[in-house]
């Protein structure tokens, strides 16, 4: 059963992405694309002539996607949360190396910003993992999901996670890494056809990755987890529609100033 979920993970992520596009359209009072639009896009991309810059650049995107899929598989299998975070870091570094491997200004700028985003969200994710550990006594997702009460004991940590969700799913106000009007998609820019498709699908997997962290706050009650995910989804999209993009430096300030201090206060509260 779990394996089926793992195989279907990109599809699930695609559905979330499609749903998000519809939701955002409705928030702006327009009709919006069909729910299955991401899959139409994918099929169309398969039909395009593929242009690449050089082989390592294209292959690193494939590697990024595969490692990310592996990470998501690790989540479904209930592995250690720290491994998962670091596997995700590995995937992200592959993508960043891809961005750096071409002599393209936008790609470099995107990769720089992506690195800064890693610096921003990585510590928070690990602190969240430490928070789970303090309550449940284990880093294993399967054990964490058997416990409960995270929601009451780690409320500020949840807010901290809420602050970094937009970074991970590249939504305003923290969509600096992609920033279509500014750096034309950043790392994505030099990809086309089949290889762009891998990046497009890895975006779906990112959704699953970050929302599963939100889901963990529900603990043993999966319904609570689902409600939290749905709530986060709504809030993130609302904020996305209502805010402008901030500068990378401001992003770091917000994450380290607000989210980090919230997380520290919460953990100190648990400890003392």
């Amino acid at each position: 059963m779990t394996w089926i979920w793992i195989l279907l993970a990109p599809l699930l992520g695609g559905l979330i992405y499609g749903g998000e596009r519809v939701l955002r359209a409705r928030m702006q009072r327009r009709q919006g694309p069909p729910l299955l639009q991401p899959f139409y896009d994918m099929f169309k991309l398969l039909d395009k002539r593929t242009l690449i810059i050089h082989a390592p650049h294209a292959l690193l995107a494939v590697a990024h996607f595969l490692v990310l899929w592996f990470t998501v598989a690790a989540i479904f299998l209930g592995w250690n949360l720290l491994y998962i975070i670091f596997l995700h870091l590995f995937a992200q570094i592959l993508l960043i190396l891809a961005g750096y491997s071409v002599r393209s200004v936008y790609s470099h700028l995107g990769a720089n910003r992506e690195l800064l985003m890693v610096v921003a969200y990585e510590p928070i994710l690990i602190v969240v993992a430490v928070g789970f550990y303090l309550i449940s006594g284990s880093f294993e997702i399967s054990t964490i999901l058997q416990g409960g009460g995270y929601w009451h004991q780690l409320p500020l940590l949840f807010v901290a996670l809420l602050i970094i969700v937009p970074i991970k799913v590249k939504k305003s106000p923290f969509d600096v890494g992609e920033a279509h009007q500014e750096i034309v998609g950043g790392i994505e820019i030099e990809y086309s056809g089949v290889f762009y498709e891998f990046l497009y699908m890895s975006r779906f997997l990112e959704y699953i990755f970050i929302y599963s962290f939100v889901f963990l706050f529900g603990g043993e009650s999966y319904w609570l987890g689902a409600v939290l995910v749905a709530g986060t989804f709504l809030v993130v999209n609302l904020v996305d529609n209502a805010t402008a993009r901030v500068h990378t430096a401001d992003m770091l300030k917000i994450v380290y100033g607000v989210a980090m201090s919230l997380a520290i206060i919460n953990i100190l509260g648990v400890l003392l």
């Binding site: 596009r21 359209a25 009709q31 139409y40 099929f43 169309k44 991309l45 398969l46 990809y191």
Partner: protein
Amino acid sequence: MKFFTTFRKKSPWILHYNAGSCNGCDIEILASLAPKFDLERFGVINTGNPKQSDIFLVTGPVTYRSRERLVELYTQIPEPKVVVAVGSCTATGGVFRGMVNTEDGIDRYIPVDVYVPGCASSPQLIIDGLVKALEILEAKSKEIEKPFKLFGAIETIGNKLSRLNMAKKVHNDEN
């Protein structure tokens, strides 16, 4: 594959380029993307990046300065692709026809599939033109399409084409 071909018209991504337009048509294009006309219901995304787009929306009569960029962008769009010329200037030169610093329309440089008239053309017309373009897009093959002018060296790797320097410098091409 036939199956994938049917999805071409379901997700047309556009690249919008202003080849010296007065911005009238550009504003109309943006209006058609905005919530009122909502082009996204056709799956349209304004990518701003030639390598991921299918439809090349060009406005303006092609100034001398913009010729090379126009052709370079055109060659960087992977096939299948269609070009939509938005506005009278783009089709014929419009009010700029015969002026010293402009060309008379983009079809001197790149093959155009759909001409959208109007000065400036309205969102309704643009959407109409795009829908027309989608039919053409579905019928297109994946063969390499070349620009008419400013066409330069093709290098090869193995026996495959490379698009390096497909658009050459202008002064080499001027007769």
